[in-house]
C-alpha cells in the first residue's frame, strides 16, 4: 500500500470532481471515502490506473450522497451527460486547491487543517494526532472550514503569499506522530514550487530544506535542545543543504527578494559554515537588515541583535537589544546570552532563570534552566 502515492493523487482527484460540478465540501467528503476504500481494497487488488480508480469511486460516492438529496436532482441530470469514466485527465489544477484552502476568510488554524486534508490527503485522524487534539474537534474544525469556503468560486486565482504562509505554519509545527508535519510541508511546497513561477515559493522550499537538514542534530537523545553552535555538524544532511542552496541561488538570481528568500539566505550561511566559529556573521547581519526592511518584524530585530553580538561583540549586541521592547518573546534569553558572552555571569544567570519562567515550551524551559544552573554552579565553584 503506497500511502505516499495515495496522498499525491488526492488533490488531482478532488479538482476533477469539482470541475465536473460537485461542490467543494461534498467532493472532499467523497474523496476521503474513496481514499479509505483504497486503503482497504488496494493491498489485495491493486488497480492498474490508480488515479482513474479513485476518480471513479469518489464520483460514485458523491453521486450516492447527491441522489439521496432530492434538492440536487438537477445535478443528477447533469451527471447523465457525463462521459463514461476513462483515464483521468492529466491537467493538474491542484493549484486552485491550494488557493482555496488558504482563503483569507479562514482562520490560520482552519486553513492549515483544510490544506492538510484536501491538498495533503491526510485523514482527519492523522491531522488530529499531529495537532494533539481529539479527532472530533479536528473533524469540526475541518467541516466548519469547508462550509466557510463552500461559496467561494473555484476559478479565482488566489494570493501565492497566503498559500506560502499556510505551508510555513504547517512546517513550523514540530509535533510528529503518525505524520511528520515538517516533511509533509516540504512535500506540498515542492508541489507548489513546481506549479507556480514565484521566487518566494522557491525561497520557502529552500528555507524548509535548510532547516530540515539540521533536524537530527537539533535535539540530544534525551530530547533536550542542542543550540546551533553546539550541534554535531556531521549529522547535518548535506544533500538537503546542497539542494536548498541550489534552489535559493536560482531564486535570488531572479532579483525579486522576499522574506522567505532572505530567511533561507541566513539559514544557508549557517549551513555552509564548517564550524560555528567560521560562521559569516557580518553577512548574516546584512541579511537581517534586508529582512527588517521587508518585514519590520520585532522578532527579526531581536534575532538581528544576536547576530550583531556575534559579528561586532556582545556590547554591540546589547546596544542593539536596548532599542527593543523587553516584553518580546525570548528578549530575556537573548539578553542573558549576551551578558554571559560579555563576562557578566551573575546577571546572565539571573536573566536565564527569568527567561526559563517565560519559556513557551518545555524543551526551551529546561534548556534555559540548565543555562542558569551551569552559570550558578560556575559562580559558586
Amino acid at each position: 500500500m503506497d500511502e505516499a502515492l495515495l496522498r499525491s493523487l488526492t488533490p488531482g482527484v478532488l479538482t476533477i470532481l469539482v470541475r465536473r460540478g460537485a461542490d467543494f465540501a461534498a467532493a472532499e467528503d467523497a474523496v476521503q471515502d474513496a481514499l479509505l476504500q483504497a486503503v482497504r481494497v488496494w493491498p489485495a487488488d491493486p488497480p492498474r490506473d490508480s488515479k482513474g480508480w479513485l476518480v471513479t469511486v469518489a464520483w460514485r460516492k458523491f453521486l450516492d450522497v447527491t441522489r439521496a438529496d432530492a434538492a440536487r436532482r438537477r445535478r443528477e441530470d447533469l451527471v447523465d451527460e457525463e462521459p463514461a469514466p476513462g483515464p483521468a485527465p492529466s491537467v493538474d489544477d491542484t493549484l486552485q486547491l491550494y488557493f482555496l484552502c488558504a482563503h483569507p476568510s479562514l482562520t490560520p488554524a482552519s486553513a492549515v487543517a483544510l490544506t492538510l486534508r484536501a491538498v495533503g490527503g491526510l485523514t482527519t485522524r492523522q491531522i488530529a494526532q499531529a495537532y494533539l487534539v481529539p479527532e472530533a474537534t479536528m473533524a469540526q474544525r475541518i467541516s466548519r472550514a469547508k462550509r466557510t469556503v463552500s461559496d467561494v468560486r473555484f476559478d479565482q486565482p488566489g494570493e501565492v503569499a497566503t498559500v506560502l504562509r499556510v505551508l510555513y505554519l504547517v512546517f513550523n509545527e514540530g509535533y510528529s506522530g503518525d505524520v511528520d508535519l515538517a516533511a509533509e510541508a516540504i512535500r506540498l511546497t515542492r508541489q507548489l514550487a513546481a506549479a507556480v513561477d514565484h521566487p518566494e515559493a522557491a525561497g520557502l522550499l529552500a528555507l524548509m530544506l535548510l532547516h530540515h537538514a539540521r533536524r537530527a542534530a537539533r535535539t540530544a537523545p534525551d530530547g533536550s535542545l542542542v543550540p546551533l553552535a553546539e550541534q554535531d555538524r556531521g549529522r547535518w544532511d548535506t544533500a538537503l543543504i546542497a539542494e536548498g542552496i541550489g534552489i535559493l541561488q536560482a531564486a535570488l538570481a531572479r532579483d525579486r527578494l522576499g522574506e522567505f528568500q532572505a530567511q533561507a539566505a541566513i539559514a544557508a550561511l549557517h549551513a555552509d559554515a564548517p564550524t560555528a566559529e567560521e560562521t559569516d556573521w557580518p553577512q548574516i547581519v546584512e541579511w537581517y537588515d534586508e529582512l527588517s526592511r521587508l518585514t519590520d518584524s520585532p522578532v527579526v530585530r531581536l534575532n538581528r541583535a544576536v547576530a550583531v553580538g556575534e559579528a561586532d561583540g556582545p556590547r554591540a549586541g546589547l546596544a542593539a537589544l536596548a532599542n527593543l521592547d523587553p516584553s518580546l518573546p525570548r528578549h530575556t534569553a537573548v539578553a542573558a546570552y549576551l551578558h554571559e558572552r560579555d563576562g557578566d555571569l551573575a546577571t546572565a544567570a539571573r536573566l536565564y532563570a527569568e527567561a526559563a519562567h517565560q519559556a513557551p515550551n518545555l524543551a526551551e524551559r529546561d534548556h534555559l534552566t540548565r543555562q542558569a544552573a551551569r552559570l550558578n554552579a560556575q559562580l559558586n565553584g
Partner: protein, 135 residues
C-alpha cells in the same frame, strides 16, 4: 479502576523538604530530575496506569465576567499571592492506596544534591459516571 489527578504546584502547596529552586541545581541534577519524571511516566504506561501528563506555564490569570457589554475582569498585579499549578499527571489505578503510592513515588523525584525533593503533590479523585450495573 479509578482516575486520579496528581497536581504539582508552583505555589500554594506546603514547602518541599528539599526546597531549592531549580536554577540553583547543577545541570546534571536537572537532567536526573527530568529523567526520573520521564521514567516514571514510561513505567506507568507499561503498567497501563498512565492517562495524561502536561506541564503548565507559571503565569496564570483569574478572569471573571463583569456584566453585559463590559470586558472581563482579570485579577490584577497580585500574582505573587495566588496558587499556581505547575502541571498534572492523570493516572488510572485500581485503588486509592495505589494512587497514594504513586504520588509518593513522584514526589521522590531527585532535586538539589541528588536527594529527593519531597515536594507536596495534590491527589484528587475524578468524579465518575454512575456505573451501568449496580446490582
Amino acid at each position: 479502576m479509578a482516575k486520579y489527578l496528581l497536581l504539582k504546584h508552583y505555589r500554594g502547596a506546603p514547602a518541599a523538604v528539599n526546597d531549592v529552586p531549580m536554577e540553583k541545581w547543577t545541570p546534571e541534577e536537572i537532567s536526573a530530575h527530568v529523567q526520573y519524571m520521564r521514567d516514571f511516566a514510561t513505567r506507568l504506561e507499561g503498567t497501563g496506569e498512565f492517562v495524561d501528563a502536561q506541564a503548565l506555564a507559571p503565569t496564570g490569570t483569574f478572569v471573571r465576567y463583569d456584566g453585559e457589554g463590559r470586558p472581563p475582569v482579570t485579577d490584577g498585579p497580585f500574582a505573587e499571592t495566588k496558587d499556581l499549578i505547575a502541571g498534572w499527571m492523570v493516572i488510572d489505578v485500581d485503588t486509592y492506596e495505589r494512587a497514594v503510592e504513586l504520588a509518593g513515588e513522584l514526589s521522590a523525584a531527585p532535586g538539589a544534591g541528588g536527594a529527593p525533593i519531597h515536594e507536596w503533590l495534590e491527589l484528587r479523585p475524578f468524579l465518575t459516571e454512575p456505573p451501568t450495573v449496580t446490582e
